[in-house]
């Protein structure tokens, strides 16, 4: 038996209230996305300037045996995984977890520990039974982000220098535009050396730089700050990707609700018409019976 008009009306009302929620979430995500994008833009020139300095430093590194540049035999690896605290953001977290799997395959046989920023990533990795070193919530707001990143950077650097890890990698969603984000793995520690090409193109002018106080002194001061900047920027990009993903997911949900509502409206009208017809037939049938 087809649903009664009243049941259909109730369903329409239910979907409309869901739609209100998805609409509100879409708007909140849009606002947060703008804010994070501004943050990223403001930080951009600092990030660029720091990277430039590190590249100059790398060009002059030569065969330096500096602790932070030296490649070690890879046994223990730390992977810093950036996800979100909350769901309802499409495939955002899943794609990061898939990237974790790919990373594990690439580094099969090595001991990988995880540092999770974002509850969703921590939950998923815990379910898979991986060794989670530390699980943190995603900080929000420029001040909180700076503070948290500073602390994480200090700890990670300490653990690397103490030899607990032979390498540290960073996995985050690189923000390309509102529709596209890519889970990306970058080598965090030891500081990657320049590719031969890059070194060649930079060598021309970078080689003439005087370094003060000297290579080691500069590296000791610059690299920790550079890493912090990198981590900070990755976190901001991950946040931007998250909000973009959530915005798009919510918009889709919204559109779907719209579609379902219009279908339900149609069947509501049909059902209503059917009852009217049935009533009329009853009445007419009654009248016919009296007349006959």
């Amino acid at each position: 038996m087809p649903a009664s008009p009243r049941d259909i009306l109730r369903r329409i009302r239910g979907i409309k209230s869901t739609q209100q929620i998805t609409k509100a979430m879409e708007m909140v995500s849009a606002v947060k996305l703008t804010r994070v994008c501004n943050q990223a833009e403001n930080a951009r020139s600092y990030v660029d300037a720091m990277s430039r300095m590190v590249r100059i430093l790398c060009t002059t590194a030569g065969d330096s045996e500096h602790e932070l540049f030296k490649e070690r035999e890879l046994k223990a690896i730390l992977l810093i995984v950036l996800t979100s605290d909350r769901g309802l953001c499409g495939t955002f977290n899943t794609s990061v977890i898939n990237a974790v799997e790919a990373f594990r395959q690439e580094h099969a046989g090595r001991n990988i520990s995880f540092l999770c920023i974002g509850r969703k990533g921590a939950e998923a990795l815990a379910r898979l039974g991986y060794a989670i070193e530390e699980a943190l919530d995603v900080p929000w707001g420029p001040a909180a982000i700076h503070k948290e990143v500073e602390r994480i950077n200090y700890n990670v650097l300490g653990a690397f220098e103490a030899g607990r890890y032979d390498a540290v990698y960073l996995l985050y969603s690189r923000f390309e535009n509102v529709l596209v984000y890519k889970p990306t793995v970058v080598q965090h520690l030891p500081v990657p050396r320049l590719s031969a090409e890059e070194a060649k193109s930079l060598a021309k002018w970078a080689i003439d730089f005087l370094l003060e106080p000297n290579f080691d002194g500069l590296a000791n001061a610059l690299i920790p700050q550079h890493l912090e900047t990198q981590l900070h920027y990755a976190l901001v990009e991950s946040l931007a990707s998250e909000y973009a993903a959530r915005m798009v997911a919510m918009r889709n949900a919204n559109d779907n609700a719209e579609e379902v509502i219009s279908e339900l409206n149609l069947s509501y009208n049909k059902a209503r018409q059917a009852t009217i017809t049935r009533d009329l037939i009853d009445i007419i049938g009654g009248v016919e019976a009296l007349n006959g």
């Binding site: 600092y46 300095m53 430093l57 005087l210």
Partner: protein, 137 residues
């Protein structure tokens, strides 16, 4: 013809504070204040807590307190990155004085719970900041 000015950018984590042409600058480099004129040799160095002085072609001076940073000089283009950068005119003297006194107290107390290294750094920072603020007057 020789350049009479160079371009200097001062970038903090949140914004570009200064971007302009200057004729002369004093940068608090790792080995002490470094005077820079156009045509300076390429250099990359640590920045100490201290006063960054900029003088443009009209002899107008800008004073900035900077800390935790680095700078490069190359082809008459100077890029300074600093975690802390405050225009001298905007320094909160009362707060800096308070920070200095607190750091002094910690250094003088024999309490081992304070990190002496950090306290000393805080003292240097506060003193440098105050010096910058006072040099305005």
């Amino acid at each position: 013809m020789k350049n009479t000015s160079f371009r200097l950018k001062l970038i903090t984590r949140d914004r570009t504070l200064i971007d302009g042409e200057y004729a002369f600058a004093v940068i608090p480099a790792g080995r002490g204040p470094l005077g820079v004129l156009p045509g300076h040799t390429s250099l990359m160095s640590i920045l100490n807590a201290g006063l960054l002085l900029l003088r443009d072609n009209d002899k107008k001076e800008t004073l900035v307190f900077v800390d935790h940073g680095f700078f490069t000089i190359a082809n008459d283009s100077i890029i300074v990155t600093a975690r802390v950068a405050e225009l001298a005119a905007l320094i909160d003297v009362a707060r800096a004085t308070e920070a200095r006194d607190r750091a002094r107290q910690r250094l003088n107390s024999k309490d081992a719970s304070f990190d002496m290294y950090r306290a000393r750094a805080a003292l240097n920072r506060a003193e440098a900041r105050l010096k910058v603020a006072q040099s305005m007057n």
